[in-house]
């Protein structure tokens, strides 16, 4: 199982590798929603080569929804990835796969739409078309295992740690609210300080982030998967660790914790609160009251 980490600065490449990162995922200017460090093509190429020189793999993170007006620039990026012989392209919108196929790069695609990879048939359909699929974030551990058993002809991955997103709108919801309230607009875009508080339940705070492509809302608690990795470690190829809203020290400790048992014990002593197991043991229901009593 590879640990996939997001890069914040060029200066930390060696450190990420030193602590055990197998694959470094780079943001792509104009195509990464919720970016940490958007790179233009020149910067991307430079950092890509530096990571490759250190014998590590590089993924490009292209999780924006692709509109008609994005297609030309998308082809430009895919062409660059072809030249670089990139190791993987992590996508949200299936369009990127379609364009990558034009360049013979379909087998570099890791399909990570968040909500769509939810059944065994999806795995069978995507197998042999692309490199991998990231299983959806709202399915149970049992469902994950069942899907993985369905075929070995595709690599499986999960986003297993961190603040997981649960909403992606094209609307600039924070900016619009500031305008509506006639509030002085300070820096809103890519500002990680905004949180929403529910009215009906006490002390539930959801991080909310506005960026170039819209607005994103995240779970109130970080997902952790230490126990589940005991089951999944040999079944998945890539384990993505989300970095948003986590400081550098905690992020590095997180990477170590998924590699080394002693580091995990230290992690669990140091960071004790604000985690949950997401949907691993919580099946959702199709209609109110189907499974869960209110």
């Amino acid at each position: 199982m590879n640990i996939v980490a997001r890069l914040k600065t060029k200066d930390e490449i060696s450190h990420l590798i030193k602590i055990g990162t197998d694959i470094i995922m780079l943001d792509v200017s104009g195509f990464t929603a919720k970016p940490i460090n958007s790179l233009d093509q020149k910067e991307f190429t430079h950092i890509f080569k530096e990571i490759r020189e250190k014998q590590k793999k590089v993924y490009a993170y292209m999780n924006k929804m692709i509109h008609e007006t994005d297609l030309e620039q998308l082809r430009s990026w895919i062409s660059l990835f072809s030249e670089l012989d990139i190791d993987g392209i992590v996508i949200n919108d299936f369009t990127v796969y379609v364009i990558a196929e034009e360049y013979g790069l379909g087998k570099k695609i890791i399909y990570q739409p968040g909500t769509m990879n939810t059944n065994s048939f999806d795995a069978l359909f995507l197998a042999n078309k692309m490199k991998g699929m990231t299983l959806s974030k709202e399915i149970t551990l049992d469902e994950i295992v069942e899907i993985i058993k369905s075929t070995s002809e595709i690599e499986y991955s999960i986003v297993g740690h961190g603040f997981i997103d649960m909403f992606y709108s094209k609307r600039k919801l924070i900016t619009n609210y500031f305008i509506h309230k006639q509030l002085k607009v300070n820096q809103i875009k890519n500002n990680h300080q905004f949180v929403l508080e529910e009215k009906t339940r006490d002390s539930i705070y959801y991080p909310i982030l506005e960026d170039e492509v819209g607005t994103h809302i995240f779970r109130d608690k970080k997902l952790k998967s230490f126990e589940e990795m005991k089951i999944l470690e040999d079944m998945i190829s890539d384990f993505f660790i989300e970095r948003l809203f986590i400081d550098d020290e905690e992020y590095y400790d997180t990477i170590r914790a998924y590699i080394d048992n002693e580091a995990r014990k230290k992690f669990e002593k140091k960071y004790i609160s604000n985690f949950n197991s997401g949907f691993y043991y919580l099946p959702t229901e199709k209609t109110k009251g189907e499974r869960h009593v209110d």
């Binding site: 994005d70 379609v98 909500t115 048939f121 974030k137 909403f167 909310i208």
Partner: protein, 394 residues
């Protein structure tokens, strides 16, 4: 090819009303596999009846199967698809590859890609066309300019939403409801968490006032852009709202039918005319959505969460008694003698009359029509057809 007007229908009667009031096709959900679980009460026998009704008047029926399947949901899928094929539904609307592939393998059903896939470009439209998908429903986030570009490049037919509620998120990409209340937004359980009230903080600083941060969007209303969409020759104009009332469906469908027919006849009326008609339905506040590009504060719904209730719809015409020259009405809202009424008929005819007397089924004169679903009679020298909508002019 003429552009189709496509209407929602939550039950058999609503579907018939939509078709009678000018929809070229209706889309419905079955008891299984549809995203609007609460709005989906069509079993196969009802679908069979509706398809028979629609085909008799040269109209179409599409069945939505647009939930995101988990392994546990697959049971019965093949039999269901075979059942729909046998009935002769005109298309299925789906978002999961399992449905597309099974439908191709087992049936001759026409396949449409649901907006749940949030398709916003021609490259993906053409991919799905090559996969056997005849039509794609565009994401509501596409602007008019983008729709035109996609239409110019797409091999697949395009279906465009023109009216009704809008997800705040890209459709199919939201798990707010899953996380907050364990109801699966992508399997029909959406709890509309995006319409809840929140406080907004920046760090520790409270920005909002008493939970007035809202994400809700105004409903979509495209009267200003119908002409553009017709000129682009998109295949289908779609109205949202399988949960809506028969009056809403009749009013909205009738208005867009008028617009399309007037455009095709080369005699469009001032836009106000259509907008005033559509306002007679019980809408939330409306806007043009993304048609004019990125949304602004004008497309958001602040401090006004509920539908604007209307008392205008006072009755549904069940029959006309030619001997007594009386309209037999099923009462829906209060009205009384002296009230001026407007009656909308399925063929777009509108008549006005003043209520003289109101009588119950025993011919007893009433001081008012005050009981919902009561059968009443009012006099009218003009014959009014069954399923006409009676509104009070306020």
């Amino acid at each position: 090819m003429l552009t189709e007007l496509l209407a929602p229908a939550g039950n058999l009667y609503k579907a018939k009303i939509a078709l009678l009031y000018g929809a070229d096709a209706v889309y419905i959900g079955g008891k299984q596999f549809s995203l609007r679980a609460r709005a989906s009460n069509f079993d196969l026998s009802m679908i069979d009846e509706l398809v028979g009704f629609a085909h008799e008047i040269n109209k179409k029926v599409y069945v939505t199967m647009n939930m995101v399947f988990h392994d546990e949901d697959v049971y019965g899928l093949e039999d269901y698809l075979l059942g729909l094929d046998k009935i002769g539904v005109d298309a299925i609307i789906c978002s999961n590859m399992i449905v597309i592939e099974k439908a191709k393998l087992l049936t001759n059903l026409e396949i449409h890609l649901s907006t749940q896939f949030s398709l916003t470009n021609s490259a993906l439209a053409n991919y799905f066309y090559d996969q056997g998908v005849k039509r794609v429903v565009l994401s509501r986030e596409a602007s008019l300019e983008e729709i035109k570009m996609i239409q110019d490049q797409s091999k697949a037919d395009l279906e465009v939403f023109i009216h009704g509620g809008m997800c705040v998120s890209y459709s199919g990409r939201c798990t707010l409801s899953n996380y907050t209340v364990l109801r699966d937004a992508n399997r029909g359980g959406c709890a509309h968490t995006c319409r809840w009230l929140y406080n907004l903080y920046q760090g520790d600083k409270l920005i909002s006032d008493d939970y007035d941060f809202q994400m809700s969007s105004k409903d979509l209303e495209a009267t200003n852009h119908i002409k553009d969409l017709l000129e682009m020759k998109v295949s289908s104009l779609k109205v949202e709202g399988r949960m809506k009332s028969i009056h809403y469906i009749a009013t909205v469908i009738n208005t867009y039918r008028m617009m399309i027919d007037d455009y095709q006849a080369g005699c469009m009326r001032p836009i106000d005319h259509y907008q005033n008609e559509i306002k007679k339905a019980e809408n939330r506040l409306t806007s043009h959505g993304f048609f004019e590009g990125d949304t602004t504060v004008e497309q958001q719904l602040y401090n006004s969460r509920s539908e604007v209730p209307t008392k205008e719809f006072v009755g549904l015409v069940k029959a006309y008694d030619k001997n007594k020259k009386e309209i037999i009405i099923q009462q829906r809202n209060y009205f009384e003698p002296g009230d001026r009424l407007e009656i909308l008929m399925p063929d777009k005819t509108i008549i006005h009359l003043k209520t003289q007397t109101i009588k119950d089924e025993e011919d007893t004169e009433l001081d008012a029509a005050r009981h919902p679903l009561q059968t009443i009679r009012i006099s009218s020298p003009i014959e009014v057809v069954e399923n006409s909508m009676v509104r009070k002019i306020t």
